[in-house]
């Protein structure tokens, strides 16, 4: 066989892991968590830039969001067909609201993880004092959902309530609450799953 005339085999398409499998691997594999971060950092950063108007502040809040996600990764529940988007969005929203409430950028998880030192960046540079207006529209994604799904997703994913409690709060059955959450998450997944995920 003449090597010059042999066509190279087509390289296999990269295997894309679901967010859920990345989070499962991230229990003991930092690279898996880094990949998850790469999938969502842009979207989360964009969310914070829209809220705060500052790239630098948004970067701090993005770091806090992923530091918190790291600490609670073992408790992630796959309820959106493998997507972690609603879960990460819920954490980001809480980081934002907590910063507004405390009047200072939420950094507890960042500090606990030693992330600031790894970023090799002085703390509290260009700090902005959180403004209550940052919270306006914090639920922009949930607002896209019908009211019954919005409340079900908020209680289940953001408030981390059990289905029985969600059902009690909504005056319905646990099975119906589960259906609403599932439909809401499926809709959110369509909006939130970043296009980067499809890139090689």
């Amino acid at each position: 066989m003449n090597p010059a005339t042999t066509s190279s085999p087509t390289p296999p398409a990269p295997v894309l892991s679901s967010d859920a499998s990345l989070l499962a691997a991230a229990r003991h594999d930092p690279d898996a968590f880094r990949e998850l971060c790469e999938r969502y950092a842009d979207a989360v950063h964009g969310y914070f830039v829209r809220r705060t108007g500052s790239r630098v502040t948004a970067l701090d809040l993005t770091a806090e969001t992923f530091a918190q996600a790291w600490f609670v990764r073992a408790r992630f529940r796959d309820e959106a067909a493998g997507s972690a988007a609603p879960w990460i969005y819920g954490i980001a929203r809480n980081v934002l609201l907590m910063s507004i409430r405390r009047g200072a950028l939420e950094r507890r998880a960042t500090e606990r993880l030693g992330l600031q030192a790894q970023l090799d960046r002085p703390q509290h540079v260009e700090d902005q004092i959180p403004d209550s207006r940052w919270g306006d529209g914090a639920d922009e994604l949930l607002d896209m959902l019908p009211a019954d799904q919005r409340e079900a997703v908020r209680l289940r994913v953001i408030e981390d309530m059990q289905y029985a409690d969600v059902a009690h709060a909504l005056g319905t059955t646990p099975a119906a609450a589960r259906v609403r959450v599932h439909r809401g998450l499926t809709a959110l997944k369509r909006h939130l799953t970043p296009s980067k995920e499809a890139r090689p």
Binding site: A26, R27, H28, D29, P30, D31, F33, R34, C37, E38, A41, D42, H45, R55, L59, T62, A63, F66, A67, W70, F71, V72, A74, R75, N94, L97, M98, R101, L113, G114, L115, Q118, L119, D120, I158, E159, D160, M161
Partner: protein
């Protein structure tokens, strides 16, 4: 790793997260190891007896994949798992540990090598005497109550006292709608300790996966000893952790290793030698908790010869624990092996800082 289409700041954040996460995993592992070791006395274990295996096979060829050889080895691992150990036996172990640079960083120590000799009763009341020596440093003896005797300075550091009973606590939602809770515990000497828990930890407390216990620790920044509540895995949860990380100084080591092989979380890799001794290498596979470990065990008894624990950050980051003595002795006639012999001239040292300096030395087990 840098992607051209990715914001460089976010790319740097990803790298920093990865590095911090790797260190945190190692820190978590050390904390788990300490918890599991502290709960050593809880489960009824099984005993490895050095001369138990009959029909010893000499392994000349390394296996390829999950061969008949590996299956046979697995069966023989089960064969050496024999009746539970009891308070009538003592496990006598001597080992040397070489800490990896990352392990040193996590333990905040400059000590890279240390040796330990331990005699551990294999049943209630779990009497123990451990002697730790750092090259060029002090020789320390510790008993099961946590008292430490410094042979070098002839000083005794009494163990700090924990409050009696279990903490009474209340768990209340913060009411901020963020899914967080306040854990409030009345302290033994008055006052209330309040800490914020995330929802998942609160649920773990509610469903019994985690429990609240008293702990005593040392705050290096203020040089003060602190007694307070801490949330830890329940005994059952700790047992599950232990099952995933065979404890080399427990009589259930062979049983735990066998369980790991049986569940597919470890596999027999090859025959080899360790320090001139024939050994079987067993490697953990995708561990559910903790780092990857290579276990080198005696082909006949499954007693540990060496444990190599790999860091999360790099395959070259290995902490090595090498055993030079591993034997089970009857308690009868050997009771004195469990006693720390403190000369009458020894001075009691009640300085908290001295105790914590001694207790803070990394220990192999």
């Amino acid at each position: 790793m840098t992607r051209l289409d990715f914001d460089p700041d976010l790319d740097r954040l990803g790298d920093a997260l990865r590095a911090s996460a790797a260190i945190d995993l190692t820190r978590e592992e050390h904390a788990k190891h300490r918890r599991v070791t502290a709960l050593r006395g809880v489960p009824a274990g099984v005993l490895v007896v050095a001369a138990a295996a009959a029909g010893v096979v000499v392994f000349a060829q390394p296996p390829s994949g999950e061969s008949a050889w590996a299956k046979e080895t697995l069966q023989r691992a089960a064969a050496v798992v024999i009746p539970p150990g009891s308070a009538n036996t003592i496990l006598h172990v001597t080992a040397t540990e070489t800490l990896s640079p990352l392990a040193q960083r996590v333990a905040a120590t400059t000590v890279s090598t240390l040796s330990e000799q331990a005699r551990i009763q294999q049943g209630s009341p779990w009497g123990e005497r451990a002697i730790v020596q750092v090259p060029g440093g002090p020789v320390l003896e510790e008993n099961s109550t946590g008292q430490i005797y410094n042979q070098t300075t002839n000083s005794v550091y009494p163990a700090p006292q924990l409050p009696s009973g279990t903490p009474h606590y209340t768990l209340t939602a913060t009411g901020t709608g963020t899914g967080s809770y306040h854990l409030s515990v009345t302290l033994p000497r008055g006052g209330v300790s309040t800490q914020t828990l995330d929802a998942s930890t609160a649920h773990a407390l509610q469903d019994g996966t985690d429990v609240v216990q008293w702990s005593v620790g040392w705050d290096a920044s203020t040089q003060t000893q602190i007694v307070g509540p801490v949330v830890v895995p329940s005994t059952q949860e700790a047992q599950q952790l232990q099952a995933q990380q065979p404890d080399p100084v427990s009589s259930s080591f062979a049983a735990e290793l066998h369980g790991l092989l049986d569940s597919g979380h470890a596999r027999v890799t090859k025959t080899t030698t360790s320090d001139g001794q024939p050994a079987i290498e067993i490697s953990s596979v995708n561990p559910q908790s903790g780092p990857r470990v290579n276990y080198y065990v005696d082909p006949h008894t499954y007693a540990p010869i060496e444990l190599d624990t790999f860091g999360y950050d790099s395959p070259d980051d290995v902490t090595r624990l090498h055993f030079t003595t591993y034997e089970t002795l009857p308690l009868a006639g050997n009771e004195q092996l469990l006693l720390v012999t403190i000369p009458p001239t020894a001075q009691d040292d009640h300085t908290h800082a001295d105790y914590w300096n001694a207790a803070g030395l990394p220990k192999p087990f």
